[in-house]
Symmetry: C2
Amino acid sequence: MNERHRRLILLTQYLVAHPLTQVSLTELSQVFGVAKSTLSEDLLDVKDTFDIQGLGRIDSQVGVQGGIRYVPMIERGNVRKSLNEWSQALAEPSRMMTDGFLYMTDLLFNPGWIDPMGQLLAHRFRDVAVQFVATVETKGIPLALACARFLGVEMVLLRRDNRLSEGSSLSINYLSGSSRRIQSMTLSRRSPVRGSRVLFVDDFMKAGGTAKAAQDLLSDFDAQVVGVGVLVATVKPQQKLVDEYSSCLEWTEFEGQAVKPSDWAWQLGLDAPTAKGDE
Amino acid sequence: MNERHRRLILLTQYLVAHPLTQVSLTELSQVFGVAKSTLSEDLLDVKDTFDIQGLGRIDSQVGVQGGIRYVPMIERGNVRKSLNEWSQALAEPSRMMTDGFLYMTDLLFNPGWIDPMGQLLAHRFRDVAVQFVATVETKGIPLALACARFLGVEMVLLRRDNRLSEGSSLSINYLSGSSRRIQSMTLSRRSPVRGSRVLFVDDFMKAGGTAKAAQDLLSDFDAQVVGVGVLVATVKPQQKLVDEYSSCLEWTEFEGQAVKPSDWAWQLGLDAPTAKGDE
């Protein structure tokens, strides 16, 4: 096989398989067994192709700590497809549970379903310098993990109760708007979240009591909630307990079981990729 | 830019970004705007390069439902690096909590740390036709999700208690070997796990009581546990409540806080990739 072809395939594979990970040209030239100058030429081809097709950008950093890093672009066709699938699935009458809940557990823990929604929220909050994604156990965990992965940060879990294995911790009690009962939320004092910028993510929001409590608990760690992202929010009450939030889907309970994509999410799926700077 | 170069980059990007997903050559030829015969030639180059470098295989299926699918190979260098990092991190004295626990929460919810371990377990159980990965809330969830993603299946969550939003369910009570208290585990009757082959995954195993209880609960759904995989298992008691299990790491509590990779896991990181059929 043509050596150049082999190198382009290897370089592309490496970058796509290691998104958001900085690697130096020196390291790569050793891995592939080629000169750095050759590699730089190959890299230009990959960079141009990714630019033109809207597949993401390749950041270069010069200097001793320098290297390259692939930042994938959200796949708009995938976003539309996934939003449609979620809307249809959540409209099934059998998902309507007592007391105003939607049964979603089977979909929440399916990587093929939840990962695109995590990517969507990661894209929504890509410009607010998120350092941690936080969620409260349990059903928001897969969404929060997917979102953290696409942002290249780690996740912080707020527990429902205190565990021996967590050491000493801070707790908060609050009234959950949707279940109308007193809930508690706790975070280990050794959590690395202290003083950082946090994106709070959850699977479902009705009144926003959980998001508000998370904000309060995190503020005891001097951490600032810079965004709130959820999979499904109910249209009513319109006034939530947190000022701002973004939901992928909206549920209009009083109109049968209508679930539809939020305007911003749907718009994102429609926007044409721009050659540069969009991601 | 050379058209062939552009196509090879696009094809490689597509396959690596959509692992374990079947796509037809017709679809791909439309996406890239090239003839199917041209695409087939390009595919051979990608296939050969991946084969030679041990990056995974490309399955082809002929016929009307035919298409191609990229099955990534585990990255052995990554496995070794990750096992070493885990061993070092878990040996920090400050992680030793009261009552024989290790504080691992910060690492369990960090995609960069947990994903390679999920891939390791997925590789371990790649030949037993797993249909679902199950775990019990909460700390095993990221590992189970990562494992499910690499196996291309979905995850089933065993809850600690009964929720309104889950509808009717089956429960089991059991004595946890490590916390020495009665725990319960519950699964919604509408879980899709019925009659299927399940891999049970958890973050920590001491006596194996949780894994045993999961096996019992799943058997009420006519589901068969075909494997048990955990991140860390204690060396003692040597006799666990489940017959067989695979742990990525072993913890010898009585010898200070020695945590080391399991033999099978370390060996996997050392094995040289074979040109074909290893994955």
